[in-house]
Symmetry: C2
Subunit: 548 residues, 2 copies
């Protein structure tokens, strides 16, 4: 939790209050040379040797390095590593208000990649985007009993508008079920108005006490889907469909092998009958709830009088769902794939899939190198590959190698004078360190290069997923007693075992081990089971873990 | 202003307080038959006659019509027409809090079309998207003198968070210059960090007293660009570049012939040195400020200490710009192109460019018609045309004709049994009423149909712009005396005349005529000019008009 303490205190502009390494992109002394030496001197040397070109000396010393100090090694302090990577890869910065976050362009581009994929899926599955106001009358929040209980401690309230005290306090939305139902009640009359299936991309506010960039911030960005149906079965099908969309997204795009399942009663969303979740194992083996889908039953429709006339002329309350994924997912990507060299992005959601670093020494080499670089860039761009050239002369190639490794760019291409002569490039994979991840003499010929790069991107995507699956599976322990669970949790692992005990028992486990039920996974072992806590018959296994 | 009074009062859930015609999409009695008869009986009759198919009787009477009552004719009451169209075309609804708006899927899809276009242009011109927190410490707003003066009456303030009174009130962002500068100060050290060019898509809050859907709402959606530069010249060039992007967007996408120009000192943004604007003439000839770009000079950089070291080692304050377009633009589209039949959308930003209405009478006709419809739909979709089929059997073709006219869909295709036999379709243009807008016997052959439709869409796009230009130009009067200005304004027109008088004179004109200087247009007449108010030499003409 050390990293949490680095957050500025409430409302104090933060610069003075926190260590500069995490926070200022530009610092006075450039320490990147040290970093280079540490992380991948061998690679830059290899590059220089094989391309026959030393890095050009920077024309002048830059006023400030982009990163000060080193990124804390992951194994030394996972939380410090996490916040260091966020700063060094320029993903986010702290806002001036305690617990708020500025999402910087590179971090936002990852969010945009998430949006681009999900937005298409939501539309394909019949949902329309729309937008609800973020100010909700306080009385709305009070209408659904468990909802108000769950959210009232976390509310931000507007009490003054246009210079005047308001008659009724306004809640800055923590989620939109209440205002959505207020509107659905106006729009829905008949079964013919159903299903009503919408989504919004929005900011939400929850007054969290312990915050962590991306994972838990006072304000965050998300999408929230809201649907109304004529029957419980349809609502259940929808809730399951959306957790399935999230699961596919996590596996296929983010290369995160989440475990989909159902939340326990204790962990169910405030106002839902059932909550489905995707649970991801982070690099420190803590669980991250990465997306949820709720079957709300008729809880909100009863509270807000959202009714329809069914085919037989009967007035009924609608059955509803809601589901969300947020900028928290970006934190999940960092903590699943990153290593000591920084971020490691799955190609499918990487804002930059390939970075090209030109390498030349003498002025007369430059034009030929830059011409080849431009040609390769065009070739890749036309093939639909997200490519960036870093031709800055203020930085050495070695500095760039480290910088784009820190940013998690899946593939680096180096092109130097010897490569130009040979009509070839040098390729480095972000996910395979050292010489093993390098290929020399790959032809620049578009007909060869494009297929080669595409193939490598696919390999990296698959490899990241496989690595994450192996890590996950080697850190889940099947337990058949509470003792075994305690042992597994104490080792930092996840415990999976049959469970049919009480909510009180579940809370006891939490108190004694800090682990909670992450989910009853959809994938269940066959055969008779006995609850590891009570010895009673159990229908399902549950997964317990410490979590963010 | 009648329509404004229909907004629900603060914090009262609104259903009871307002006339149902504007607000409830589903009403108890379906009055659409009356609407059909009024608006385009001739068209549906023509359709029936030429396709040889009467509309199928709806299998049962629908529980509620989608629209109750008629849309007020534009000529009778422009404001009532506007709010009626918003309700009937399902663009937006009122939120529960006074002055807030729910943007419904069809209205949001228009906003998405605006976003899709501008987002690409912003990136092409070197800007990156990112996200700043919406909560701004109150003290930030006070740092720039004219900024606080301009915005403090409109602020929404969060005073309670997590159940506790906050030490410092938080402003819900009305615009982000202050928090942007707070962060820029941390990120910018050297001239090498410049230019810094970013954009965010976000919601903003301004506690407006008089609200109107899309045009002026308590919360609205927008993009706000923020840039920092090393020189005044660069900032000026950027501010001009962005107003140019907006101008092109307005002309080429929205078919709105805006007049770009510079705001007077009186009308300049609170905190800017110069404000550039695009001014649009609405159907009632009032002006709408549809987008602005500000040269902020060093006002915010001085207030926030945003400095950099220049190439000579001197410390300087950065030069800045900001620029924005909001959901207000959707209101501008409605009020520029709409007519008594409803919305009229330029094809380039229409969520649906072509709607296909199948027409059949007997059950045995249905399968052949639906097969042809599906084939035409695929053909158009593959050609990149945004096409929708409305095959609902709950509505008559006549009802659908009116509904999609109300929604402003540029082209309607009718396909009936006779069309199937002839392998042809009937085409109706939204912008040309009656028989003149209809084409019969257009071949279904993809090689003919696609080009034909694309050609028609281009014609409609061009025609809407030409019509709007003609309307605009016939309603701008060149004036050479204050008397002439008063006359023009009294007639509801815009007045254009040489102006070099004082801010006090400008305020006098506003007080006496309700007209303000909309802009000093970039396009200026040649030759010597005399101020129409003072008789002194004037360098420029200004445009005066009443505005939203």
């Amino acid at each position: 939790m050390a990293s949490l303490l680095r957050l500025p205190s409430l409302l104090k502009p933060a610069a003075a209050a926190r260590p500069s390494a995490l926070l200022s992109r530009r610092s006075r002394g450039g320490l990147h040379a040290g970093m280079e030496a540490r992380v991948s001197a061998s690679r830059s040397q290899a590059a220089a040797a094989t391309t026959g070109a030393a890095a050009p000396a920077p024309p002048e010393t830059r006023g400030g390095g982009d990163r000060e100090g080193q990124v804390t090694p992951r194994s030394v302090d996972f939380n410090a590593w996490y916040t260091d990577v966020i700063a060094a890869a320029e993903l986010a910065d702290y806002g001036p208000v305690r617990g708020t976050m500025v999402i910087r362009p590179y971090g936002y581009a990852i969010w945009e990649a998430i949006q681009d994929y999900l937005n298409v899926k939501f539309k394909e599955t019949g949902h329309s985007n729309m937008y609800f106001p973020q100010f909700i009358p306080y009385s709305f929040i009070e209408k659904e009993a468990s909802h108000v209980e769950g959210f009232s401690p976390e509310l931000a309230l507007v009490t003054i508008g246009g210079g005047k005290e308001l008659e009724e306090k306004l809640v800055v939305r923590p989620t939109s079920e209440t205002i959505v139902n207020h509107m659905f009640t106006k729009w829905i009359q008949s079964y013919r108005d159903l299903p009503l299936m919408i989504n919004q991309w929005a900011n939400v506010t929850r007054w969290e006490m312990r915050t962590k960039p991306f994972i838990r911030t006072l304000e965050f960005l998300w999408q929230e889907g809201h649907t109304a149906h004529a029957t419980l079965e349809e609502a259940e099908k929808e809730a399951m469909q959306m957790i399935d969309v999230y699961t596919k997204f996590a596996y296929e795009q983010a290369a995160i092998p989440v475990i989909p399942g159902r939340k326990s009663r204790v962990e169910t969303f405030a106002g839902a009958n059932r909550t489905y979740t995707i649970e991801a194992m982070m690099g420190d083996r803590k669980a991250l709830q990465a997306g949820t889908s709720h079957n709300l039953g008729q809880n909100f429709s009863r509270a807000f009088g959202t009714q329809f006339m069914d085919e037989n002329g009967q007035i009924e309350h609608v059955w509803q769902t809601s589901w969300a994924i947020s900028t928290r997912f970006v934190g999940g990507i960092i903590m699943t794939h990153g290593d000591d060299a920084g971020l490691m992005l799955p190609p499918n959601i990487a804002p930059i899939q390939v970075v090209i670093v030109p390498i030349w020494k003498k002025g007369d080499e430059k034009s030929a190198v830059m011409e080849a670089v431009a040609s390769v860039q065009n070739t890749l761009k036309e093939a639909g590959i997200r490519v960036k050239v870093d031709d800055s002369e203020l930085r050495t190639p070695g500095w760039k190698f480290n910088f784009y490794e820190m940013k998690g760019v899946p593939i680096r291409l180096e092109i130097g004078p010897r490569d130009v002569t040979n009509r070839s490039v040098v390729i480095s994979r972000r996910d395979v360190p050292g010489k093993q991840g390098k290929e020399f003499g790959v032809s620049m010929d578009p007909s060869i290069l494009v297929d080669h790069i595409k193939g490598r991107l696919e390999e990296i995507q698959a490899s990241l997923l496989q690595k994450a699956i192996a890590f996950r599976d080697s850190n889940i322990v099947d337990v058949s007693s509470y003792g075994e669970l305690k042992e597994a949790i104490a080792e930092g692992k996840w415990a999976r075992g049959p469970w049919s005990a009480s909510d009180a028992d579940e809370l006891k486990v939490k108190e004694e081990t800090s682990a909670t039920i992450r989910c009853f996974p959809f994938e269940q072992p066959e055969g008779a089971k006995k609850c590891f806590m009570t010895g009673n018959p159990a229908e399902e296994v549950a997964i317990f873990a410490k979590s963010y």
